[in-house]
C-alpha cells in the first residue's frame, strides 16, 4: 500500500473513532447509563436523560452521518482519491 493510501486510511480511522465515540456517548451514555443523572436536569417539560433516549440521540445520529460524509469528502480531496 502506498504511503498516501496508508495515511488516508489512518485519517479515516481517526474520524470513524471520533464519530463512534459521540455515537456511543449520546445513546448508550446519555440515554441509558447516565439517564438517572441527566434526569436531574429538566428542560421545558422533559427530563434530559429521557429526552436523549427518545429524541436527542436520534438527532445526534443524523448530524453525525452528515458530518462524517462532509469530513470524508474533504479527506478524499486532500489525498487526491476522489472519484471522477
Amino acid at each position: 500500500m502506498s504511503t498516501n493510501k496508508r495515511t488516508y486510511w489512518q485519517d479515516n480511522l481517526r474520524l470513524v473513532r471520533f464519530c463512534l465515540t459521540i455515537w456511543f456517548v449520546v445513546s448508550f451514555g446519555f440515554g441509558i447509563l447516565l439517564v438517572d443523572v441527566l434526569n436531574q436536569i429538566q428542560i421545558g417539560g422533559v427530563r434530559l436523560g429521557f429526552w436523549f433516549a427518545q429524541q436527542g440521540s436520534i438527532y445526534a445520529f443524523v448530524v453525525l452521518i452528515f458530518y462524517y460524509a462532509w469530513r470524508m469528502s474533504v479527506v478524499d480531496k486532500a489525498h487526491g482519491v476522489t472519484e471522477d
Partner: protein, 580 residues
C-alpha cells in the same frame, strides 16, 4: 362519502401510482434488476431506504409499543436509528466501492471461499424470510381492518401488487415505488400526529409537543402522564421497567442488526459513487428520523388520550370511570375488531383500566371496589385508531390505511428482492451454474422473486409464532451472523475464510438457540422467558449483541491459528478502502 368507499379510493389510488411507476421502470439487465444500474440519486436512495426500512412494525406498532413501554421504548427508537451510523461509517462506502451486486458476493469474494458465500446466503435467507413473514401479515391485517376483507384476501392483493413491481422492475422498480411509498407513509403518519399535538398541547410540531404543556390544565404533558398512570398503579411513563443491562443490550442488538440487514445494506449498492453512499445514509436516516422522533410524541399523546377517556374523573370516585354504555363510537368500532376488549369484572357497568399486576396497588384497588383490570388494549390500536380517537375527518383515516399498506409493501418488496438475488446470483450464477447467460440469470431472478412472494404469502398466512417475536429474531440473526464478518472483511486484513465461516456459524447457532430456548419458534419453549433464567440478564431480544461479540471473537481466534488470506484478498481489501 362513507369511510369505506373513501378508504378504497385512497388505497386504490396509491396502488395505481405504484403500478404506474413499476411500468415506467422495468429492469432490462441484471445490473438494473439487482442494483438499479447504480444510477440512483443519493437523495432518492435515502427516501427509498427509509421506506424499505420502515416496516409495518415501525408504522403500525412502534408508537403503541412506546405508549405502553414508556422510557423502555427507547430501545426501538435508538436501536432502529443508531444502526445507520454504523452502516454509514463502517460498511456502506466500502461495499459500494466493492461494486458487485449482493452481500454474499462480498463475503464470498473477500473470504475467497464458496463455502463462506453459501453460509452467507443461508443467513440472508433465514433473516429475510423471518422478516418478510411479519410484513405480509401486516398487509393482511391493515386490509382486513380498514377494508373489511378477510386477512387472506388482503394478503393476496398485497402479494399481487408486490409481484407486479418486484418481478417486473427488480431493484429499479422497487426503488422508485419506494420513493412514492415514503411520501404516502410519512404523510399518513404526520397528519394525525400534527392534529393530535395541536389538540392536546396547542403546538402543531409533535417533537415540541412532547416537551410542552397540555392545553387543559397547563401542566407538562409528560409530568401529567406520569401522574395519571401512576395513580392507576402503572409504572411511571418516564422511567422504565426493564433492567439497564437489558435496555443496553437490546439497543445494541437492534443497532448492529439494522446495520447487518441485507435488504438495507444492498440499497447502498445502487448509488453512483462512494461519497454518494455516505451522503445517502445521512438522507436515509434524516427521512427515518422524521417518523422516529414523531413516534414518541404519538405514543405519549395516545396513552394520555386513552387513559383520560376511560378514567375521565377522579380515581376511586364511582363516576370517575367511563360507563360502558357511554363509550364513544371509536371504542365500539375497535371492539368489533377484537383490538379492544371489555369484561365487567365487578359488574358496575363502568370500565376500570389499571395495573392489576402491581401488588402495591392491589389494596387501593380493592378499596375502590375494583375487581381486576377490565380493558384489554392491543398496542397496534394506538396508531390505527388515533385519528378516530382524536375525531379527525375520514380522509385522514383512509390515509392511515394507505400509509400502513405502503410501509408493509415497501419493506416486503425490498426483502423479496434480496432473497431472489441471493438465489439467482449467489447460488445459481456464482456457485451452481457459472456459465448461465445474463438473460438466463435475469429470468432466474424473476422466477425466484415470484417463488419468494408465494413463500412469504404462505408464511404471512401461517406465521411461525407471534409476528413481533419473529422480527426480533431477524435482528438478532443479522447482528450475530452477517454484520461481524462484513466489518472484519473491511477493517481486518488478517481474518480469513476459516475465521469467517466459524464466526458466522457460531454467532448464528448461539443466537438462534437462545431465542428458540426461550421463545420456542415452531416448538414449545424450553424455559420460561423471565429475567431470572436469562444469561447475564439479557433477554432474547438483546441476545444478538452477545451473538455478534461471539462471532467477532471466534472469527479472530480461528484466523489467528490458520494461514492468512491470499494476496488477492489483500489487494481486494486495500482497493475497497479507498474511493478511487
Amino acid at each position: 362519502m362513507d369511510l369505506q368507499t373513501l378508504t378504497y379510493l385512497v388505497v386504490g389510488a396509491s396502488f395505481v401510482l405504484y403500478i404506474g411507476i413499476a411500468l415506467a421502470s422495468r429492469a432490462r439487465s441484471t445490473g438494473e434488476f439487482y442494483v438499479a444500474g447504480k444510477h440512483v440519486h443519493p437523495l432518492a436512495n435515502g427516501m427509498a431506504t427509509a421506506a424499505d426500512w420502515m416496516s409495518a412494525a415501525s408504522f403500525i406498532s412502534m408508537a403503541g409499543l412506546i405508549a405502553f413501554l414508556g422510557y423502555d421504548g427507547a430501545v426501538y427508537l435508538m436501536g432502529w436509528t443508531g444502526g445507520y451510523v454504523l452502516l454509514a461509517l463502517l460498511l456502506a462506502p466500502y461495499l459500494r466501492k466493492f461494486g458487485k451486486f449482493t452481500v454474499p458476493d462480498f463475503i464470498g469474494d473477500r473470504y475467497d471461499s464458496q463455502t463462506a458465500r453459501v453460509v452467507a446466503v443461508v443467513c440472508l435467507i433465514l433473516i429475510s424470510f423471518t422478516y418478510v413473514a411479519g410484513q405480509m401479515r401486516g398487509v393482511g391485517i391493515v386490509f382486513s381492518r380498514f377494508l373489511n376483507v378477510d386477512i387472506s384476501v388482503g394478503l393476496f392483493i398485497g402479494m399481487a401488487i408486490v409481484f407486479f413491481y418486484a418481478v417486473l422492475g427488480g431493484m429499479k422498480g422497487i426503488t422508485y415505488t419506494q420513493v412514492a411509498q415514503y411520501w404516502v407513509l410519512i404523510l399518513a403518519y404526520l397528519v394525525p400526529a400534527v392534529f393530535i399535538s395541536l389538540q392536546v398541547t396547542g403546538t402543531p410540531v409533535p417533537q415540541i409537543a412532547f416537551a410542552s404543556s397540555v392545553v387543559d390544565d397547563g401542566g407538562f404533558l409528560l409530568e401529567k402522564l406520569d401522574r395519571i398512570v401512576t395513580d392507576l398503579g402503572f409504572g411511571a411513563y418516564t422511567s422504565g421497567a426493564k433492567s439497564r443491562t437489558d435496555v443496553f443490550f437490546i439497543t445494541l442488538a437492534l443497532m448492529i442488526g439494522t446495520a447487518g440487514l441485507p435488504h438495507v445494506i444492498v440499497r447502498f449498492f445502487t448509488v453512483p459513487r462512494v461519497r454518494d453512499a455516505r451522503m445517502s445514509a445521512g438522507w436515509a436516516l434524516l427521512f427515518i428520523a422524521i417518523l422516529y422522533t414523531t413516534a414518541p410524541a404519538v405514543g405519549a399523546l395516545a396513552r394520555l388520550n386513552l387513559t383520560e377517556t376511560i378514567q375521565h374523573g377522579p380515581v376511586g370516585a364511582v363516576d370517575g370511570n367511563l360507563a360502558y354504555e357511554e363509550r364513544p363510537l371509536w371504542f365500539r368500532t375497535w371492539e368489533d375488531t377484537g383490538l379492544l376488549r371489555f369484561e365487567d369484572k365487578n359488574a358496575d357497568g363502568r370500565i376500570q383500566y389499571y395495573d392489576d399486576t402491581n401488588p402495591d396497588f392491589a389494596a387501593t384497588a380493592r378499596e375502590y371496589g375494583w375487581r381486576g383490570n377490565e380493558l384489554g388494549v392491543d398496542r397496534d390500536i394506538m396508531v390505527l385508531a388515533n385519528p378516530e380517537i382524536a375525531g379527525l375527518p375520514n380522509w385522514v383515516i383512509a390515509l392511515v390505511a394507505a400509509g400502513g399498506i405502503a410501509a408493509a409493501l415497501s419493506t416486503a418488496a425490498g426483502l423479496l428482492l434480496v432473497i431472489s438475488a441471493a438465489v439467482s446470483h449467489d447460488l445459481l450464477k456464482s456457485v451452481f451454474a457459472p456459465e448461465i447467460s445474463e438473460r438466463g440469470e435475469l429470468l432466474a431472478g424473476r422466477v425466484s422473486a415470484a417463488v419468494a412472494i408465494l413463500v412469504a404469502g404462505y408464511l404471512g398466512y401461517n406465521p411461525p409464532g407471534f409476528v413481533a417475536q419473529v422480527v426480533a429474531l431477524a435482528f438478532g440473526l443479522a447482528a450475530a451472523s452477517l454484520f461481524p464478518v462484513i466489518l472484519l472483511g473491511i477493517f481486518s486484513l488478517r481474518v480469513n475464510k476459516y475465521g469467517a465461516i466459524a464466526g458466522m456459524v457460531s454467532g448464528l447457532t448461539f443466537t438462534l438457540s437462545y431465542i428458540i430456548y426461550f421463545k420456542g419458534v415452531f416448538m414449545a419453549p424450553f424455559a420460561e422467558n423471565v429475567s431470572e433464567n436469562w444469561l447475564f440478564g439479557i433477554s432474547p431480544e438483546g441476545i444478538g449483541a452477545l451473538g455478534a461479540a461471539l462471532n467477532f471473537a471466534v472469527a479472530i481466534a480461528v484466523s489467528a491459528v490458520t494461514p492468512p488470506p491470499p494476496a488477492t484478498v489483500r489487494e481486494l481489501v486495500e482497493r475497497i478502502r479507498v474511493p478511487s
